[in-house]
């Protein structure tokens, strides 16, 4: 894996480049990420750094977690994530990482987040089926149906894993190869081209490719 940071989706807008081309971009807020744990080859068998970001109320933090954050000398944070094989230079507990430390404009990144929950949806929306049959010629009540789900009396059952209707969305997705369009160091904001999973305000992980 690679270096990365924790961020929060703010919303979408668009930017023009020098050639007058317009791109859709997503604004991500990257609160200073605090190093709360460092894993080493000697102790843990692999190298990693644990980052935490976005303040949380003290009273809604459990005692064990409070102790964990106290060790790093920081306030309780909402989102904790381990980044494997990512060792910043001279990393020490309690160090803060900002956007500029990890990313620069023009870099390609992957963004991981939990997508919006869609509830119980049919196969057309969930699996991009195209529905069955026509709207006319005597057909009715099956424009958005799945069609056949198997054979006849030979298997006499439906095989596992057949795509059907059900709960959709609310799952971890990775959007690959987005480009960093702009970075605003003072306000801890950055822009990546294209869309990323989840509603505004949801936490996302940004990885260097």
């Amino acid at each position: 894996m690679s270096s990365g940071l924790i961020g929060k989706k703010i919303g979408m807008t668009n930017v023009f480049d020098d050639n007058g081309k317009n791109y859709a971009v997503t604004v991500i807020e990257v609160d200073p990420n605090v190093i709360t744990e460092i894993k080493t080859n000697e102790e843990n068998g692999y190298e990693a750094v644990q980052l935490s970001a976005f303040d949380k109320k003290e009273k809604s933090t459990s005692k064990p977690l409070k102790g964990h954050f106290e060790k790093a000398g920081t306030t309780p944070k909402k989102y904790i994530k381990e980044f494997r094989d990512f060792i910043p230079e001279d990393a020490e507990l309690g160090d803060e990482l900002n956007i500029d430390d990890v990313f620069s404009i023009g870099d390609n990144v992957d963004v991981v987040g939990v997508s919006k929950g869609k509830g119980f949806t049919g196969v057309v929306k969930r699996h991009n089926f195209s529905g069955v049959g026509e709207a006319t010629h005597g057909q009715h009540d099956r424009q958005r149906h799945p069609g056949s789900i198997g054979q006849a009396s030979d298997p006499a059952r439906v095989f596992p894993g057949i795509k059907m209707a059900g709960r959709s969305g609310n799952e971890r997705n990775k959007i690959k190869n987005l480009t960093i369009a702009k970075i605003f160091s003072e306000s801890n904001l950055m822009m990546v081209t294209g869309s990323i999973p989840g509603p505004n305000g949801r936490f996302v992980e940004i990885y260097n490719r």
């Binding site: 919303g11 668009n14 023009f16 007058g20 317009n22 702009k182 904001l189």
Partner: protein
């Protein structure tokens, strides 16, 4: 939402006079031909404005030679829109003037709001000041 606006502010150039639908404007548009660049003017009536923040466009309608209506949609914050000049302010009762497409001659006119043009001059002056200030800042950089 505030953070979104904060980020958007940096993308927005506000060196244009405030204008609404019904106003007559001259849009100075940069045209690139090979590696040469020149400025093309497009004068007409603003018949619609849409969008918010960095994502705004406006539609300009002019009656071209031969009595043919020509409409162009400009992105407000495009780097190709070099300058917008306000010519006159219109007194109108709706935000989209699409009804003008079916009209010709006298009935396709829009009443003028500001006969003395004091407002127009003031708005243009303010815009030019902003543009000059920005140019100065750019040069200093």
């Amino acid at each position: 939402m505030d953070k979104l606006k904060l980020a958007e502010q940096t993308l927005i150039n506000d060196e244009y006079p405030e204008f609404k639908t019904g106003d007559t404007v001259v849009v100075h548009y940069r045209v690139r031909e090979g590696d040469k660049e020149r400025i093309q003017k497009f004068e007409g009536l603003v018949i619609s404005r849409r969008g918010t923040g960095a994502n705004q466009t406006f539609m300009v309608r002019k009656i071209s030679a031969g009595n043919i209506g020509v409409e162009r949609i400009f992105p407000l914050h495009s780097p190709f829109v070099a300058k917008i000049e306000l010519k006159r302010q219109g007194d109108i009762k709706r935000s989209k003037l699409y009804y003008l497409r079916e009209r010709q001659g006298k009935s396709a006119r829009v009443k003028e709001k500001d006969q003395n043009q004091d407002n127009v001059r003031e708005l243009n002056r303010k815009a030019e000041e902003k543009a000059a200030a920005k140019q100065k800042a750019d040069e200093e950089e």
